[in-house]
């Protein structure tokens, strides 16, 4: 039995257009570097070639001025967190979205619950819309002990609290929209940082986040296919960074933490057109084959596309799997 915690954050998913970034530098600097000045507890900023995706709680959201450059998804999202309650099932070494593919992602997809995934160095957050919470609880109550965190205390959620308004719960087959994937050659690493040492990398971080488009002296023509992807999150005092190895070189090596094996990750970007927020089963589509292959993965959803990070050594088999999947979908 695993525990599912409904965390005490109410989140908004927004995006800032590349050109509009300059209008938001003040709130972003405050949210990233001045922890004592804000009551924001959940902050995630991901740069993709399209835009900046910002996931943040209501306290953080207040800092953002409405602007034509700011797109806001209208729902409130709640982060879920799966915790093994001590009974270690060490059969699978795989972690992240793979571990919960069968127990959480697939059932939610079946119930037409749209999920927004956010993996960090420390944990994986599954964001669901607040209005879907009752469906989520009734769907997952068999598999999980569900707790709601209220002011730091974990309160067990009793199933009778949940009204069975499963009107969307029709058992129609998942519509298999097979989205195109993009596999850039970048090598990524997932890292963490002692929040106390954040000031010492501040200039590098600002440079990487906000000036990535400025022309670099070293010509990047050898990696034309590389895409810009950088993610910074500061959640409950924990910092998580996802960056490619080129960006990593700009940081001092002794401050960033990562795994002792120094593992590197490759990215699979899902979606040719912006995916929107209403389609279900996207995560399920990709996590299912990964779970079958017992491959660890980070999954980072952004405003436009979803991104999966898989171990570098597994990228070939993942590519094969996706190919196979595509064929299957075409024949069916």
């Amino acid at each position: 039995m695993m525990d599912l915690h409904i965390l005490d954050h109410r989140l908004r998913v927004t995006s800032i257009s590349k050109s509009g970034l300059e209008h938001f530098t003040h709130p972003l600097i405050k949210l990233i570097f001045l922890r004592n000045r804000t009551r924001c507890k959940f902050f995630s900023l991901t740069e993709t070639p399209e835009n900046f995706t910002l996931v943040l709680d209501e306290e953080g959201f207040k800092e953002l001025q409405p602007s034509e450059h700011l797109q806001v998804e209208s729902s409130t999202w709640l982060p879920l967190n799966v915790v093994s309650n001590g009974n270690v099932s060490s059969s699978s070494q795989a972690v992240g979205v793979t571990k919960i593919a069968k127990s959480v992602i697939a059932p939610l997809a079946q119930q037409h619950v749209s999920v927004f995934m956010l993996s960090t160095y420390q944990t994986d957050f599954i964001l669901v819309r607040e209005k879907d919470l009752s469906v989520v609880v009734s769907t997952l109550k068999e598999e999980f002990s569900i707790y709601q965190e209220v002011e730091g205390e974990s309160v067990p959620v009793r199933c009778q609290d949940v009204t069975h308004n499963l009107q969307k719960n029709s058992k129609e087959a998942i519509q298999l929209t097979v989205h195109p994937v993009l596999i850039p050659p970048n090598q990524f690493c997932v890292m963490s940082l002692d929040p106390d040492t954040l000031p010492s990398i501040a200039t590098t971080l600002i440079d990487v986040l906000f000036y990535s488009s400025s022309p670099k002296e070293e010509s990047p023509d050898q990696e034309l296919d590389c895409i810009k992807f950088f993610s910074f999150s500061l959640i409950d005092g924990y910092i998580s960074l996802v960056m490619d190895s080129e960006a990593q070189r700009q940081f001092p090596s002794d401050l960033l933490f990562t795994s002792s094996s120094g593992e590197l990750w490759r990215m699979v970007r899902i979606g040719g057109q912006p995916l929107g927020f209403d389609e279900c089963g996207i995560v399920a589509q990709i996590s299912q084959p990964l779970a079958d292959g017992d491959i660890s993965a980070y999954y980072i959803s952004t405003f436009s596309f979803d991104h999966v990070l898989v171990p570098e050594e597994d990228i070939v088999s993942v590519m094969g799997m996706l190919q196979h999947h595509r064929k299957e979908a075409a024949t069916s």
Partner: protein
Amino acid sequence: MSGSKPDILWSPHHPDRYVICDSELGLYRIGPVCSAETKPGSLPLSEETAATLLAINSDTPYMKCVAWYPKQEPECLLAVGQANGRVVLTSLGQSHNAACKELVGKEFVPKHARQCNTLAWNPVDSNLLAAGLDKHRADFSVLIWDISSKFAAETGVAAEKSRLPPMDLDSGTTVTKPLYEIGQNDACLSLCWLLRDPKLLLAGMHRNLAIFDLRNTSQKTFVNTKAIQGVAVDPHFHDRVASFFEGQVAIWDLRKFEKPVLTLTEQPKPLTKVAWCPTRTGLLATLTRDSNIIRLYDMQHTPTPIGDETEPTIIERSVKPGESQIGSFAWHPSSQNRMVVVSAANRAMTDFTVFERISLAWSSTSSLMWACGRHLYDCMEESAEGAERAAEKDIATKMRQRAQSRYGHDTVQVWRNHLLAGGNDPQLKSLWYDLFYILQWSAEDAELKLPGNKQSLYSGIKNIVKSSSGKEVSSRRCWIGSERQTDVPRYHSEERSLALRLCGWVSRGSDIDVETFLRSLEQEQEWERAAAIALFNLDIRRAIQILNRGLSSSPAGDLNLNVVAMALSGYTDEKASLWREMCSSLRLQLKNPYLCIMFAFLTSEPGAYDAVLYESSIAVRDRVAFACMFLSDAQLPRYIEKLTAEMKDAGNLEGLLLTGLTKDGVDLMESYVDITGDVQTASFCMLKGSPGEVLKDPRVQCWIENYRNLLDAWRFWHKRAEFDILRGKLDPSSKPLAQVFVSCNFCGKSISYSCSALPHQGRGFSQYGVSGSPTKSKVTSCPGCRKPLPRCALCLMNMGTPVSNCPGAGKSEEKADLTRENKLAKFNNWFTWCHNCRHGGHAGHMLSWFRDHTECPVSACTCKCMQLDTTGNLVPSDSS
């Protein structure tokens, strides 16, 4: 430690060494200030102690937590947890220990780097080092490293390598495989090994407190809570654990782990450290951020486990070691209540000892005991060596002695009670004589059926004088044995003679005849007093006689008496005579106050006797009697009023003569008790002669109850019984109602109730001559329904007490028969039973059974009846 916040660790084995860690590690030695004074660089910690910096270690950057190796050897081995989760073994100062050298520099590296929050060495298996880390999505947050096993595996390799320059320094000293990995997906913020079982590890995880068992790491006991920081086991009580969250400390009992047994009052600022005192039970010190005080919670008297109903008693105190804000503190491992505090800002250290609260208790027998820390002081009154010391004795001792000498119990010769009290207290003497006269005269009045007087006798001279109603006769009498007319007016009235009787000067009768009194004084050799009283009765000749007799009887031959007698004989009433002049000035040199007032009287103008009336060393009764004789109707009540107020204020028992046993008397007694604490005298005095309404005064009842409690506390149970009997006689309203009845199992009626109802029946039967017939109720059956009473568990006979009140014939014999043995024999037949198991039997049998046994005599009953009786094992300390 990150940057600013320092911490202190005491060496587990060297009581004079500690480490301060902030950005680096500094080892200090603490010592007396005098020896350190000579050395440069010693830092004063207090008036007596100073610290010397022995070594500094700045090899390990990004320190997050430090733990000191718990074993004696190698000393000064420290584990340092770093911001990236690595745990490094390091040491301070040079160590020649080989094992230490091999361990120092060893690193333990988690698979995924993240901050190391806490470290804990296993107290028994010191190779085990638990590290608590921040969470990682794919890793465990509690890693238990074995500092030796990996080491042992690699020593061979290391030794071989040591011949060559090591290529990769890390490979030989880095351990990456922990012995145990527990706590997935959750941060671990604090750790401690449980002292009750060294295989158990208590961890403050992100959302809960969890107990992991190394024998089965897949299982855990946990409780969801916010209070997960700073878990610490009470070293004196292994099931008690403290943890905190923000400003609140929670105390847990591991046996009732569902919720905290206690939460301490919340502090406005977040806590930074919580530590149990290692040298004293149940003392918890807490420190909050930006504070210059350490708050102490004393749970010594908090019952464990705490029941749901009981209100826990926690004594909260705070200590302030200095003005600056405290960074951290650490209890000294062995020195009682001592700690070293380091300031938040500049590493300034203070050594100080928390002063223990002093608790103090009086015993019922004048000794005093106080406790401070581990010291217990008993303060006993030195046994008095002589009579002159008796006055200094504590009132409790006095009362105890007096209780033993049956003080207060002489109800016939009431005045003798002052002798029972030791006979050396003039106030008591006066009191008991007053009571004696009051009782004597009121008894005589009652016999003579004189109406109305009794009340007035009790109400004291003040009221008697007030009530005198203008019937006074003043007379100018002659000096006895002389033709000369005195110019001294003397007043008479019924009330005045009554007052004189109460003063003891005259006995019953209309005649004022002091001769009996004078003779009794002569017998007691109170020559001066007798002479003065004779003089006041205008009998100079008698006075001179008395003085002469006193002179001849006293072996030393008091010259004063002789001189006074001569002086008296020269008395002249001429106003301007030399005699008068000389006497009025020289009298002040007389030491005896009675001799002094004799001349004061003779040299005073009529009506102006202040020199006599306000001579405080003269007994009140004599002054009052004098006033009754020589003060006019106008003067007398005023004088008495004034004197009464004075007595009341001073709590002088002699004043009881004036107030009587009235409300005024209670007021006076109140100030006496306030001054002396002598509830014994107060109780007896008020019981002796007070009318009912005075006895009902709550103050009086309070004295009586307190005296009874005192007797109980002294285990003077026989005395208390005697006192209660006496009290019942003198104050019938105080007799308690029967509160316990033995009722029959069958009919439910009280068997004693039936007994008292029996005489009617008995008489009825005997009328018909059937007494002694089988129908006559046996003592072993219920008088109500005649069913047998329960059997004694030992002799198996039916119980029943033949002494139960059988009035009628043989009463006198029975009374004579009530010797001590007889009484005891009858007590032996009483019912007794255990309130717990409800078994019982004859009192005598039960007592002898429990002399040798602890368990109930009924077979298969394991009730320890006698031990349940808290007072049953005490023995009275007085003899009946």
